[in-house]
Symmetry: C2
Subunit: 197 residues, 2 copies
């Protein structure tokens, strides 16, 4: 989506050095501003990077492209946790561990992720690579649990993601509340027993 992705493609001419440098400056500026302000404007990002808005738009044609570029790195961390949990834990422990880790992570970036989620809600067909990798990570963990019979089979990993993601970005929740609700969702994730009442 961004120029960066196509950087290595057709080497008719390599990317110019200043373009490369500006790309990195812009990305760093965006990350800083999203962390500091929660949300920010394209003008502010360009200004902090010391370039004009035209340059920003050359590298990231739409606002969502900036957001996704920042998001991309974050997702790598979460995916790594999922893979580690699957490799080192029992099916249920992996689900429990990973969902808690996911919520802990998402909670820390709530303002930023709220912006991202809004972009997806306005534009559902826009499902960026990063998000798909994230959903794949949850699927990995959840489907392994389902295969082992410790997770109910009538729910998909994507649905769990859709339930927990918005919860984490809900401004009115504290970290403790998120943790408690994850616990509750985990209970709900277990295979249902015959109705106890």
């Amino acid at each position: 989506m961004t120029i960066q992705d196509e950087r290595a493609e057709s080497p008719g001419r390599p990317q110019r050095a200043d373009a490369r440098r500006n790309h990195d400056l812009l990305l760093q500026a965006a990350r800083e501003l999203f962390d500091e302000e929660g949300d920010t404007s394209m003008e502010a990002i360009a200004k902090r990077a010391g370039v004009g808005v035209g340059t920003l738009y050359r590298h990231f044609p739409k606002r969502i492209d900036v957001v996704e570029a920042v998001y991309r790195d974050d997702v790598d961390q979460v995916v790594a946790v999922a893979e580690r949990d699957v490799a080192t834990r029992t099916p249920w422990e992996a689900v429990d561990s990973f969902l808690h880790a996911f919520v802990a992570y998402a909670f820390g970036k709530r303002r930023f992720l709220t912006e991202l989620r809004e972009a997806f809600e306005k534009n559902p067909e826009l499902k960026c690579d990063a998000r798909e990798r994230l959903e794949a990570a949850i699927r990995l963990v959840v489907e392994r649990g389902q295969g082992a019979g410790v997770v109910r089979s009538d729910v998909t990993g994507d649905e769990v993601f859709g339930l927990l993601g918005p919860m984490c970005t809900s401004a009115s929740f504290t970290r403790e509340q998120c943790d408690r609700l994850v616990g509750m969702v985990l209970d709900g994730l277990r295979p249902p027993v015959a109705a106890s009442r």
Copy 2:
């Protein structure tokens, strides 16, 4: 918050007839546009009502005031359902019935409610009366279940609301998915048994 609320206060001079009429026209126009478009602009609302934007802002000083006014009526319906369920069903049946009804309702107004939720997230201290009544309705049902021992005690009604509300407005979910996830949350809401694994 709106002029309407203060209509009956000090009758030094009654509200003018044209003002009253415009207030109703604006509210109707806003409701129609939110239903048809999902979201809309202040200019569009004023235009459909056949008045200038100045008049719109006289009646509803901020955009959120329009949204809340439309929201208010909707909440009345949901609250009525909660009260009926509490009056006519067993504690657990009331929880089950009401949460399903809540999700069905919220799903139908998802675009509109998304806008409302975003307003709350941007501005957490802005918890309008209507929302509080809605949370109170869920609390009513959930706390009755907790009192009867059929709902786990470490979760509040507000938290259930915060979990289900965002889920309903998540654009990527179908109605069926929402129903299935409610079922899962209901399972999670039952008092936990000793860990089965």
